[in-house]
Symmetry: C2
Subunit: 375 residues, 2 copies
């Protein structure tokens, strides 16, 4: 349904990034890179959770040495996250990084950047130019803050302009060296600024875009701003790979990223989808409790879903509606595979929009499980 | 920063809804309306949480009678949620409803709708035309489904077209009667369809829009799709009042709604805003644990924030950054009131972007609380 913004395709190892391919979820390891066993374990957990790319920080020589070994032990393409050091970037490329994430702004010499580009070309390594609002403090020649300016006082429009100029300058650097295996990202910890800068980057370039809201906080603080930011851009067709960043286990980041994509039809739905009315004074039964019971009962049962219609697919899993009254009950039931429409002490069970039975309150969950087994 | 779509202003009691006023959060009571005391208590909790309008279902005559008493006991404008019965709508209007939410599609006779309109005019009551994808099953003359069509097979584009036609028909009905105190809403349980239909309604009309994603499920399932849907529309300037619908206490709905608005700068930030880096292999300290400790310590302390700069305001509360390394640490610190940039066994404390001290790991929280007290 969403019309993706048309981009070039960039190969990150075996994974294609760009509008010709599905949006790719990625995350980042958060254990010491030198602890190879833990790192590999976390990578495998991330792949299991839905990541198709995994990024690893390699701040020291020991880290790039470990990175070289980790590449051999996992099947997912790895991205090396490099700051400050051209040597780390080149070591990671030679070690088999499928992509390197660079902020050219923190690599001092242009010559060093060219060395990285040449190494990446030789090894078919993609590069993400990743800029970050937090790092645009000093940008010689591109609207640098005056010494007497406080960053907090810089108006949002100027910040966005600074980031866009910075990106244009970096992209030129790579294109002048005939390097186009680029993915672009510009992050801020402010949602609307992240939306605005990405809209501008989407207008200015045809490279794939990596989306993220940076430094979003602990998961409870991070998930809604991340969903707002990434959701808005994705709904406008912008974004080819995403990473949710939250201060927590990266598997949780991946789950949030998946939920964002699923909600926009950009990722296969899970096996069961629950439509639940929010309840109001019309409800004559505790719908919240009923929905929780049904969800739990289904989660703890093992269903062999034989009918291919109900396989996990982009079109959707099995849709179960739990509704509290007749206002929208029959309508949602018509759109669901199974539905419960609660009334006083009893409920109507629907299959494919047809009412098939009336059961007392205590029998709702068993009746539904029964119908599920039949499907 | 967000440029709101220009709309008329509709007065809902003392609350203005439309682009000339801030986006209004609303929610709905979920206790029996006839239980007046519980209902009033829940309304007050919702107001406390941030609702500036509260909606109440009035399915029976006893409910509208209770509604009349509830109106007298609360200061917030109330909205009556009416389905099927023109009498309930008129009773609610006469009882002092500031707005009535109607789906004209489930009121059988046009004559009845005119009676409601006339009553609303006489009492200065606003009306929300609230349509719902679940209720568009039969719509004579507007692309009704054929008997042999299954709703699940109706393609999304047709669903959106059906809803838009339905809305156009209803708006004409009201305009023909010279009634323009209208708020419009079109909800679906599908995020992208909700985004699309609201974009179309925003193009077609200049009435304020009420946004919601309907039947979104239990809170864990509801919050990300709601943030994606409402966030996308709000970021595009669409939406004048919002309700997050989740199967839970409506105070939780209100908290989610607030988080969505705050993230886009459409609602005052809370007293403390936490920027936390997601951590990676570069971190030499447990940043997640540190961030949790800091958040908890601050939450349990009572701060008298005297400096007006730090009052709760749309511009922002007190911004505290907890960062794991020097890549973005100093940059985020420059944008924060207070910041901690962790290193190995120690941390750098920043105030307004200036590094003011280096403390051992065990002293980070006390040092930060100390700085907070000074502000």
């Amino acid at each position: 349904m969403i019309k993706r913004r048309k981009t070039r395709t960039v190969n990150v190892g075996s994974v294609k990034v760009g509008s010709s391919a599905p949006v790719v979820i990625q995350s980042m390891t958060k254990v010491p890179t030198v602890d190879i066993a833990r790192c590999v374990r976390q990578i495998n957990q991330l792949v299991q959770a839905g990541c198709r790319l995994v990024r690893i920080a390699v701040p020291t020589r020991a880290d790039t040495a470990a990175f070289a070994k980790i590449v051999q032990k996992v099947s997912v393409p790895l991205i090396a996250d490099v700051h400050f050091s051209p040597s780390r970037a080149i070591e990671a490329i030679e070690a088999g990084a499928a992509k390197v994430r660079l902020n050219p702004g923190n690599i001092k010499e242009r010559k060093s950047i060219y060395r990285i580009i040449d190494a990446a070309k030789m090894h078919n390594t993609a590069i993400r130019i990743g800029i970050n609002e937090a790092s645009i403090r000093d940008l010689p020649g591109y609207g640098t803050l005056r010494r007497d300016e406080k960053k907090q006082d810089v108006p949002p429009a100027k910040r966005t302009a600074l980031m866009l100029n910075e990106m244009k300058k970096y992209v030129r650097l790579f294109e002048n060296r005939n390097f186009t295996q680029l993915v672009l990202s510009a992050k801020s910890s402010d949602p609307f600024r992240t939306i605005e800068i990405n809209r501008k980057i989407a207008d200015a370039f045809d490279y794939p875009i990596h989306l993220g809201l940076t430094h979003a906080g602990l998961p409870d603080d991070a998930q809604i701003p991340s969903a707002v930011t990434l959701g808005t851009l994705l709904a406008e067709g912008i974004g080819d790979t995403i990473r949710v960043s939250a201060a927590c286990n990266p598997v949780v980041e991946t789950e949030i990223a998946k939920q964002i994509l699923v909600s926009l039809g950009l990722y296969p739905k899970s096996k069961f989808e629950f439509i639940v009315c929010p309840t109001c004074a019309r409800a004559e039964m505790d719908v919240v409790k009923l929905a929780r019971l049904i969800k739990k009962a289904i989660a703890t049962q093992k269903f062999e879903i034989r009918n291919s219609k109900f396989e996990i697919s982009a079109k959707g899993g099995l849709r179960i509606a739990v509704m509290g009254c007749i206002v929208n009950g029959p309508g949602e039931a018509a759109d669901a595979d199974l539905a419960v429409c609660a009334a006083k002490n009893k409920a109507y069970i629907y299959r494919n929009g047809q009412r098939i039975s009336i059961v007392p309150e205590s029998k709702i969950v068993p009746a539904l499980l029964d119908e599920l087994q039949k499907l």
